[in-house]
């Protein structure tokens, strides 16, 4: 049951899978959360907003993953985007 692949076949599924990947990394690397995510404005209703509390290992792992993904994108980009 082979199919000719189109962008709309796999892009939404890939985006959902990327969100799951972020959650998994968050689960593995982040022990707890602290901080409001952003500075509260004058009319902000303060809620217990949270931010991931990351230690050094988590930062290194996150940045490594990001660097690998960006480098891989830069490597493949000319082929996919037709840059000469």
């Amino acid at each position: 049951m082979t199919r000719q692949k189109f962008l709309h076949h796999y892009l939404p599924a890939h985006l959902a899978s990327a969100l799951v990947a972020g959650s998994v990394l968050n689960f593995i690397l982040v022990e707890t959360v602290n901080y409001p995510v952003s500075a509260a404005g004058p009319r902000t209703r303060l809620r217990p907003a949270v931010r991931a509390k990351m230690n050094k290992v988590a930062w290194i792992a996150m940045l490594t993953v990001l660097a690998i993904v960006v480098a891989s994108w830069l490597w493949i980009a000319p082929l996919t985007y037709g840059l000469t």
Binding site: M1, T2, R3, Q4, K5, F6, L7, H9, Y10, A13, H14, S17, A18, V20, A21, S23, V24, L25, F27, I28, T32, V33, N34, Y35, P36, L46, P48, V50, V65, I68, V69, A71, S72, W73, I76, L79, T80, Y81, G82, T84
Partner: protein, 244 residues
């Protein structure tokens, strides 16, 4: 299987070859005594002496043949292309008009359908259409290959300059996603298995929030556990709220 047998029309007054003008009407999917309906009633016409079904090409003959329809015979009774339906009822010139059937009738208004019905119909049509696809494609791929980005899409090629745009995902990104998905399944599976055995490797809904907007600047924690207040180990100096 089409035959070389062609069908033509004869003068109705000519009775010399009466047997050759006999056809059997076979209404498809009809029960005994069911009336034939125009448009929705499909039928086959079998020529009695030769047991051959009336059949025609999907397209009309070219202009030099006056755009006529060539009507042949087909021996394969299971062939769906031998099905016919009544599209229009015309007067035969004898003045005999059963139940006034040849008068012009305004077409009925299309019925409106609910969204759910349209949605279901669309899904069925897509399934049927996809199930009928047989043509292969050089860049076709199996669904198993998709999560691992094993093949791309040839978007554009230029044979003269040997240039190509080949759409392929960010490979390492895809593989990271595939690994993360399998880790996710593993974690959830292991956790569910452990819970069946009374273990609790992943704490339930435990959330510790530190506030930094205290006047003395010292962080205090508010914790809430969804299930068990006894197992809650919270922030540095805490008051624990149980919401179980």
């Amino acid at each position: 299987m089409p035959t070389n047998q062609e069908f033509t029309t004869v003068n109705p007054a000519d009775e010399s070859r009466r047997n050759d003008t006999l056809f059997q009407l076979q209404i498809i999917d009809a029960h005994e005594g069911e009336a034939l309906k125009s448009l929705s009633g499909h039928f086959k016409l079998m020529h009695m002496p030769t047991r051959v079904l009336l059949w025609t090409h999907p397209t009309a003959l070219p202009e030099w043949a006056f755009g006529q329809q060539e009507v042949n015979g087909n021996k394969n009774a299971l062939d769906k292309t031998t099905s016919w339906f009544v599209d229009d009822i015309v007067a035969d010139g004898t003045g005999h008009d059963f139940r006034n059937r040849t008068v012009h009738v305004e077409p009925q208004k299309a019925k409106s359908r609910s969204f759910i019905k349209k949605f279901v119909e669309l899904q069925i049509l897509m399934l049927q259409h996809n199930a009928g696809l047989t043509a292969s494609h050089p860049y076709a791929s199996d669904p198993v290959e998709w999560p691992f980005c094993l093949s791309g899409v040839s978007f554009w090629t230029d044979n003269e300059t040997n240039q190509q745009i080949y759409m392929i995902g960010n490979l390492l990104g895809w593989w990271a996603c595939a690994i993360a998905l399998s880790v996710f399944v593993g974690i959830v599976g292991a956790d569910m298995l452990a819970r069946r055995r009374g273990l609790d490797p992943i704490e339930d809904g435990e959330l510790t929030i530190f506030r930094t907007d205290q006047a003395d600047g010292q962080a205090s924690g508010i914790g809430c556990t969804a299930t068990r207040a006894s197992s809650s180990v919270l922030g540095p100096s805490t008051t624990s709220l149980s919401t179980s």
